[in-house]
């Protein structure tokens, strides 16, 4: 079903069209919020919050092509908020602050994430893992471990990689930069 037909269906109160959106985007949304190191419970809240904001904002949809970027922008905002709160204070309530709520429900035209969305396809996933297979250690093991144990904490991951906990974050950052560089080089190759 095309984006336009799906959105037309959603705006016409068609649950089947909504289910199509859910089937298409919930997996990638889940992966994106989990990448913020959220627990399964917090990740579930972030994904639910994203769909709730869409229900709140349905009437503002003008360009169906922007619905994907909008969903991911909103999910990242919800995940970042939860991640910050979880690391910092233990709150009774998470009142989406005024700025957050307004921007989340703002014009769909503000969502720009196309290059990032392109990476969340099966083809890109295969390309990424091919690149990882060509990487040196510790990056190769780090990515394999990180993907296979999404609930493992930093201490556990660092221990299994044989490095101090304090080294895990910087090493992960360097490995991600290297992976990006490899992808950029491949893009540049005709």
């Amino acid at each position: 079903m095309s984006d336009q037909r799906t959105i037309d269906g959603v705006l016409a109160d068609d649950q089947t069209a909504w289910d199509t959106l859910v089937a298409r985007f919930t997996g990638p949304l889940w992966s994106v919020v989990r990448a913020y190191d959220l627990s399964p419970a917090d990740a579930a809240d972030a994904v639910q919050g994203t769909w709730l904001r869409l229900v709140e904002s349905l009437h503002t949809i003008r360009d169906p092509a922007l619905i994907g970027p909008w969903l991911f922008t909103t999910a990242r905002r919800e995940a970042a908020l939860l991640s910050r709160r979880r690391r910092g204070e233990r709150l009774v309530a998470d009142p989406a602050d005024a700025e957050h709520a307004r921007s989340a429900s703002a014009d769909f035209g503000q969502a720009h994430a196309d290059p990032m969305l392109a990476v969340l396809t099966a083809d890109e996933g295969r390309r990424l893992w091919q690149a990882v297979d060509e990487m040196h250690e510790p990056c190769r093991s780090l990515f394999r471990l990180m993907a296979s144990a999404p609930d493992a904490g930093v201490r556990q991951l660092a221990g299994r990689l044989g490095m101090p906990s304090g080294s895990y974050g910087p090493t992960r950052g360097r490995c991600l930069n290297r992976l990006r560089t490899m992808l950029t080089a491949r893009e540049a190759t005709p």
Partner: protein
């Protein structure tokens, strides 16, 4: 198509790696909840957005109720949120007080509670499940006003 991988941030790279590895599938309850959310739409309702409150944002939980304030046009919804034994209590005030016959619905993903407003525009509900909630004010012959969905975790 040019994808500009250098603009892909860490979270998207990690998400793409995990998605392709298939080792972190979406729990069925997350997908079910996403489908069910469609039943919570309120055509024609105005959204009341969060407004600044006297309580500083990011304040630590001290067991004291937290004050939330939402506004849409001239209507303000103020909520005192407190939690006990893992459940959530809300005490609310709608200002200005709507005409007689106004009804408040407190919606979560799982339950909907209805309350008649007191003559001064107050209402209360106790024992809500933690998670997302929204308060809807239904007024006679006027569009409903719904507070922006807000998350509570005791």
């Amino acid at each position: 198509m040019t994808r500009h991988p250098s603009t892909i941030d860490d979270e998207f790279l990690i998400a793409a790696l995990r998605l392709a590895s298939g080792s972190d599938p979406v729990p069925a309850r997350v997908t079910e909840a996403a489908r069910a959310v469609f039943g919570l739409r309120l055509p024609g309702a105005a959204t009341a957005h969060p407004m600044a409150t006297p309580v500083p944002r990011g304040v630590r939980s001290t067991g004291q109720p937290q004050l939330l304030r939402f506004g849409a046009g001239e209507l303000t919804v103020e909520l005192e949120v407190s939690s006990l034994d893992g459940l959530v209590d809300l005490a609310g005030q709608i200002s200005p007080c709507p005409d007689a016959g106004a009804l408040v619905e407190i919606r979560t993903l799982h339950v909907v509670e209805s309350r008649r407003l007191s003559p001064t525009g107050q209402f209360a509900v106790t024992g809500l499940p933690p998670g997302w909630f929204s308060v809807v004010c239904h007024r006679p012959e006027r569009s409903p006003v719904a507070t922006s969905w807000t998350r509570i975790r005791p």
